[in-house]
Assembly symmetry: C2
Homo-oligomer: 281 residues x 2
C-alpha cells in the first residue's frame, strides 16, 4: 500500500489505474463467483456473503446442482432491471405445470439487509447522499449506512433476489440485475446478493419486454441461459480493493475532474457514479 | 387544478395518475418536438429552448433541412450514452473525406447552462442532492440549482450536444442521450437540449460498441437514422405538468411508497429517480 500523499501526483483516474501496484487489486474467488452463459456472452457475478449469507448459500446450492441451466432471462424493463430464472411460473397458463424443482436448496429465505458497519470492511466516500447518512464501499460493493446499520445499495449492475409479497418468498432461484438508474427505493426491500463485474452489456442491451413490468410475453422472447457455473480457477479477474489509499485517491480523482475537457470539475460525487475498476488478466 | 389536500386520498402514484384531470397534462408542441426514426422504432424528443435557445434553434434548422436523415447512431457505451450524427468524422480514415454539410446551421455555438431560477417555471422537490443545493423540474426536465443559477441535469433520457475540447465546438449536429445511471458530472460541461419522452428503449437496448468509449468500430455496426422530423400535429402526446399540486403529490407518492409490497417505504427520493408520466392519446 502506498502512502496517500504519494498518490497525489496522479491527475486523472486513468493515469492512476495504470500505475497501481499488484497489491491494490484482489482476485475474484472461484467459490464465490458465478458465470452465467447467455447467447451473446458471459456475465460474471461475485456473490456477497458478507451481507446475505443465507441467500448466497442457497444460490451456491442452486448453481452446484445446475438449477439455472436451461432457465432464461424472462424480463427486461427499460431503465430498471433484467430478471432471470424459472420460465414456468410466469409464462405458462397451464394450471398443471409446476415450477422447476429447486433441489436441495431452501424454499423460503427471509430477507437479509443490515450488518454492523464495524463487522464489514466498509470504507466511506465523501458524498452527500439522498437516501443514507453515509455511503461507501464494502469489498467493492456500494454500501449505505444509517443508524440501523450498513446495507447494500441498488446501483447499476447489482444483483438481487426476486421476491413476492411475503418477505421470505425469495430464495435465489429468481434473480435480477439493475440495468438503469439506481432504484435506491428498492434498498431494504429486496435482498442484494452480489454484483456483475463483467458482461453487464449482455443484460442491459437485451430487447425490452412488452408485457407489464417488462416481462417477455411469449416464450420465444426468452433469452436462454445455457448454464450458470462457478468461475473457473484458471480465470484471473481482479477488482480494485476499496479499503485502500489507492481507492480513496481514485474516488477523489473521479470527484474532482482534472481532465482538460472539463469546464466544471464538479467536486461532488454520488455513490452509484463511482465505478470500481476491474480487469481480466 | 385540485387543492393539494384533495389529492391526499390517493395512496399510490398509479392510482393518482389514473384519476388526474385533463388540466394536469400538457401536450408536446409539434414545433418543439422532433421524432427520430430508427430501424426498431421512433424516438420522441422534446427540445428545451428555455435553457439552450441557441442550440435548439440550430437543431431546428438541422431538422428542417433534413441534416439527420441518413446519419446514424455511432456510439453505444454501456451505462452511459448513445450518440448519433455524422458518420464521416469518426469512422473514416480517408483524409480527403469531409464532414456532412450542416447547411445554414451555425457551426460554433457556445455552451448554454444557467438560467435565473425565477425566469423559468422551476418547481423544487424535497430531496437532498449530492451535486446541487436544490433540485426539481422545469417543464418536465430535471433541473439543479446552485448559487449560480438553474441548469438542466443529466438524468436518464436527457439529450445533450456532443462537443470536443473548445467550449463552442458543439452545434447540435452530434447528439447523445443518457442510457445509464445519471452521469451528473457532465452537468455544466455539456449543453443539454431536451429529453426523450417516448422510445428510449430503441437507444438503450442497442448493442454496445466495442471501440473506445463505446464507439462502433465499423460502419456495418452503425444504426441508421432514416429521418429526424418534427412531430406530426396529428399525434397527441401528453406529459404531466410539473408545476402543479398534482405533480407534487405524485412525487410524494414516489417518495413514500405505500404499496403493500414495500417493507421500507423509504421516505426519500433522488432527482433522477423521479420519472415524469407521459401518455400518447
Amino acid at each position: 500500500m502506498a502512502e496517500k500523499s504519494a498518490l497525489d501526483k496522479y491527475k486523472s483516474s486513468a493515469d492512476l489505474i495504470q500505475s497501481l501496484p499488484a497489491s491494490a487489486w484482489r482476485s475474484l474467488s472461484p467459490d464465490n463467483t458465478i458465470v452465467m452463459s447467455l447467447p451473446t456472452g458471459e456475465v460474471v457475478i461475485e456473490l456477497a456473503p458478507d451481507f446475505a449469507p443465507n441467500h448466497v448459500a442457497n444460490i451456491k446450492t442452486l448453481v452446484a446442482e445446475k438449477y439455472f441451466d436451461g432457465t432464461a432471462v424472462i424480463r427486461s424493463q427499460d431503465n430498471y432491471v433484467a430478471q432471470w430464472g424459472d420460465t414456468t411460473d410466469v409464462s405458462d397458463s397451464n394450471p398443471d405445470s409446476k415450477p422447476k424443482s429447486i433441489g436441495s436448496a431452501v424454499e423460503k429465505v427471509e430477507v437479509e439487509f443490515f450488518r454492523n458497519k464495524s463487522d464489514v470492511p466498509f470504507n466511506a466516500i465523501v458524498s452527500r447522499d439522498a437516501y443514507a447518512d453515509e455511503v461507501g464501499f464494502t469489498r467493492g460493493l456500494p454500501t449505505s449506512v444509517t443508524s440501523k446499520g450498513a446495507y447494500l445499495s441498488h446501483c447499476y449492475g447489482m444483483v438481487g433476489v426476486s421476491r413476492g409479497m411475503p418477505t421470505d418468498s425469495g430464495n435465489g432461484s429468481g434473480l435480477y440485475a439493475i440495468t438503469g438508474h439506481a432504484p435506491r427505493h428498492l434498498d431494504l426491500n429486496v435482498t442484494l446478493v452480489g454484483k456483475v463485474w463483467i458482461g453487464m452489456e449482455h443484460l442491459s442491451s437485451l430487447p425490452r419486454g412488452k408485457g407489464s413490468l417488462g416481462f417477455y410475453t411469449t416464450a420465444e422472447k426468452y433469452v436462454p441461459i445455457e448454464a450458470v457455473e462457478f468461475l473457473k480457477p484458471t480465470r484471473k479477474i481482479e477488482v480494485l480493493k476499496t479499503n485502500t489509499p489507492e481507492f480513496s485517491r481514485f474516488v477523489e480523482l473521479r470527484t474532482t475532474r482534472n481532465e482538460d475537457w472539463f469546464i466544471e470539475s464538479t467536486g461532488k460525487i454520488e455513490l452509484c457514479n463511482v465505478w470500481v475498476p476491474v480487469r481480466e488478466i
